[in-house]
């Protein structure tokens, strides 16, 4: 074992690890990215129609929350310009409330209703998800700095 050979082996195994990581990452990024859209983008059909998970975010529209059953909930996500109706089955987070920021993950149904598999509200009542702020800014409805 010479010093040169040892260095060669180290460099090659380093490259192999790097290659492995790159391959796995590229493969994983192809399928596992979840894109975020604002209600306006959804309404204006900027959302690709492929059958994949997306996130939409905004505020829970005032007066939109309905509970046909204790664990089913209908509500609307709005950026104060456009609105998307959402259906979700399961427990909503504690901070889920009309007028609060919300992010829903799921698929867009054929009738334009969003079928959420997950509803995320953040852990702090004064905190607004950054995506929601950006969506509100994009619709010109953000009142803050």
């Amino acid at each position: 074992m010479t010093r040169k050979r040892q260095r060669l082996i180290l460099v090659l195994s380093g490259l192999a690890a790097l290659g492995l990581a790159t391959g796995l990452t590229l493969y994983a990024l192809r399928d596992n990215l979840v894109f975020f859209y604002s209600p306006t983008q959804v309404v204006q059909h900027e959302v690709p129609v492929e059958n994949r998970n997306i996130r939409i975010g905004g505020l829970v529209a005032d007066g939109s929350v309905q509970r046909p059953a204790a664990n089913t909930i209908h509500f609307a996500i709005t950026d104060m310009v456009n609105t998307v109706n959402v259906t979700y089955t399961g427990l909503v987070p504690n901070l889920f409330k009309e007028g609060q920021g919300v992010v829903a993950e799921g698929r867009l149904g054929p009738d334009g209703t969003f079928l959420a598999s997950q509803v995320l509200a953040k852990h702090d009542e004064t905190y607004m998800p950054k995506e929601v702020i950006d969506a509100l800014k994009a619709s010109g409805q953000w009142k803050g700095n």
Binding site: M1, R3, A21, L24, L33, V34, F36, A69, L91, N94
Partner: protein, 663 residues
């Protein structure tokens, strides 16, 4: 007055840190003993001042002095005392102060206990610590003064986020910070060594205990956070691959790699440049973690404030520290003397493999965490990278590491044959395969993957113990003496490795046999989950210290007999409009029964979610074993700070060379 005293102490600490950052460094360069001698009193005084400031802020919190903005913003007079104290670090300014306290505490520890460090090295280490201190003290004084006053003083505080009013979480940040900041020691030693241009086994002996201690603290901190998420968030999850979790996980991965590569430097005087680089990267990742968590660039629970000036400052600091240290590395590293040679199959080779895989895993986590930021900056697309990404990248990289971590400690240094090592592991291998097969055959619902997971876990747990067992149960008498004579570092390694195996076992069981059920129940109705029958008896109000809960009473029956009462709650806090979910978690021998009370439907029905979480306690047990292993290894006399290096004679090293701690 107390607040002003604290503020003043911080300013004094800043000035002292500036002196500590420069005078000893120049002194070490010139060989001036008087200048070098400044390091010790400076480090001790800086710590004293930081402590004064910290306790001043704590005084303000305990006495609910709402004229101090930080107190007003995150405390409330009705809060229990322990959460008033925890409130000190429950906000941006106070958590920064805690960071500074710990940073100066580590510096003071080196100053006080590092008596047999070479004086010049010690001076340089303390100088680098001083530089980090200057950066953080400037940050706190110029952008986030914890003692800022509000006028007029409000009558009552805003309250602490109720989710954070929990004992596990109250002590989570201090442990996490002890870990993060503990890696600053490795960093300071690395930079000092680069300035001196010399790295030797003695250096590694100095660095390892600090790194190991930091690693233990970080492990505790991460586990506490995960445990909190499990029982407090009401979703039954323990790890979400959330950016802030990743932020603490990356330094852990890099720190784990650093622990292992430092062994090679210590024992074989090689891999020096790589170890230095790892030390720099580990602390850089700690800083990056702080930046991610505190700056609000990523959506997270932990983002307190999104003041752009702060973000910019941290970013600049990050660039200065990482860029500066890497530049120094680029200039100085080639001058480091190359060390001993080793064959690819050898203990060194195994540790290199460990480092490669851990570093690669860390890189994929880093990429997944920062990718949304990059994409947003470059294209404006908003994406989230969720658990599927990390499962597809992180897990395949970790699997070979988990398999190999049993073989590595069996290999002798320098040059080895895989044959004899595997030969000594044949029973472990058979036992592991047997365990997987038995579970596959006997337990319904076991997939091949799950059987593989069980086999892997058994392989790691037994394999971790094998080197110890083979030393103790060698032919001949005196096994008990040999048990006592085992180096603590070897015992520590076995415990920590077994801990990893226990975690793998818990994960496998949880992912395979977890059951979840959502149902709407009225009072008197029942639901079944995993062989238990839950009957809703009543739902009613239940007052607590600073909240009013709506509490459900469930009879938990198994085989027709009621064995437990489960009491899930929803709490409404008086100082906040926020509601929290308190899941009822009923531990059993085989796992936790986890019941969550959801919303009422207005007609007498309640949404109930119930889980059975098989063997979830193994996750915490495994983490505890890892920490225990670290602590046992730390108690090894060779690791005792300042203990003279005593060469161990490898007595009767037949096939087994003395296993060194590889926690």
């Amino acid at each position: 007055m107390v607040a002003e005293l604290g503020h003043f102490a911080l300013i004094v600490a800043f000035v002292i840190a500036a002196v500590q950052a420069t005078v000893p460094l120049v002194g070490a360069h010139r060989g001036d003993d008087n200048w070098i001698a400044v390091a010790r009193p400076a480090a001790l005084t800086q710590f004293l001042m930081a402590a004064v400031a910290f306790f001043a802020l704590m005084w303000c919190f305990v006495h609910s002095d709402f004229s101090v903005y930080a107190v007003y913003n995150s405390s409330h007079s009705l809060k229990p005392l322990v959460y008033k104290i925890a409130g000190v670090w429950g906000n941006h300014e106070g958590s920064l102060l805690l960071w500074i306290l710990i940073l100066s505490g580590f510096g003071a520890a080196v100053a006080a206990f590092g008596n047999n460090l070479p004086p010049a090295l010690k001076a340089r280490v303390l100088s680098v610590q001083g530089m980090i201190g200057v950066g953080f003290l400037a940050f706190i004084l110029f952008t986030s003064n914890p003692f800022a006053r509000v006028f007029p003083a409000p009558e009552e505080g805003m309250g602490l986020n109720p989710l954070l009013q929990d004992f596990g979480l109250a002590i989570h940040p201090p442990f996490l910070y002890l870990g993060y900041v503990g890696f600053s020691m490795a960093f300071s030693f690395a930079v000092a060594a680069l300035i001196e241009g010399r790295v030797d086994p003695a250096w590694a002996r100095w660095v390892r205990p600090w790194t190991l201690a930091a690693w233990c603290f970080l492990t505790v901190g991460i586990t506490l956070g995960s445990w909190w998420a499990y029982y407090e968030l009401g979703w039954g999850g323990f790890w979400f691959w959330d950016p802030v979790e990743n932020a603490s996980f990356m330094p852990w991965l890099a720190g784990t790699a650093l622990l292992h590569s430092a062994i090679v430097v210590e024992r074989r005087d090689t891999l020096k440049a790589w170890t230095i680089l790892l030390a720099i990267l580990t602390f850089s990742l700690s800083l990056l973690g702080t930046f991610i968590v505190r700056s609000g660039v990523l959506t997270s629970v932990h983002a307190f404030a999104t003041d752009p000036a702060r973000g910019l400052f941290i970013l600049a600091f990050l660039v200065a520290v990482i860029g500066g240290s890497l530049a120094l590395f680029a200039v100085r590293a080639p001058a480091l003397k190359p060390g001993g040679l080793f064959a690819p199959v050898s203990r060194e080779g195994a540790l290199v493999l460990n480092n490669l895989l851990l570093a690669t895993a860390c890189a994929t986590v880093l990429l997944g965490t920062l990718y949304p930021l990059f994409l947003d900056a470059l294209t404006g697309d908003k994406v989230s990278v969720g658990p599927p990404f990390f499962q597809a990248t992180f897990v395949p990289i970790m699997l070979p590491l988990l398999g190999a971590m049993v073989v590595g400690p069996m290999l002798p240094w320098k040059r080895a044959d895989l044959g004899p090592a595997l030969e000594r592991l044949r029973f472990t291998f058979i036992a592991a395969g047997f365990a997987g097969l038995v579970v596959y055959a006997l337990v319904s619902g076991t997939s091949l993957t799950a059987a593989g997971g069980i086999a892997l876990a058994t392989w790691i747990i037994l394999g971790g113990m094998t080197p110890l067992a083979q030393r103790v149960f060698r032919r001949g008498a005196g096994g008990a003496d040999r048990l006592r004579a085992l180096p603590r570092s070897a015992v520590g390694m076995s415990l920590a490795h077994a801990g990893i195996g226990v975690v793998v076992l818990g994960l496998t069981a949880l992912l395979t046999w977890q059951t979840e059920k959502d149902q709407v129940l009225r009072v008197g109705q029942s639901m079944d989950v995993a062989g238990y029958t839950l009957t809703l008896r009543s739902v009613g109000p239940h007052p607590g210290a600073n909240y009013i809960a709506s509490r459900a009473v469930f009879d938990v029956a198994k085989g027709g007999a009621v064995i437990k009462t489960a009491l899930p709650e929803k709490r409404a806090y008086v100082d906040s409009t926020q509601v929290t979910t308190e899941a009822a978690i009923e531990p059993t021998l085989f796992g936790d029964l986890y019941v969550v009370l959801g919303d009422a439907d207005g007609t007498g029905g309640y949404a109930i979610r119930a889980y059975f979480k098989p063997f979830v306690h193994l996750l915490w047990l495994g983490a505890a074993l890892m920490v225990l292993g670290g602590v046992v290894s730390l108690s090894d006399r060779r690791h005792r700070v300042g203990a003279p290096a005593k060469s161990r004679t490898p007595g009767a090293a037949v096939a087994a060379p003395p296993a060194r701690a590889a926690t």
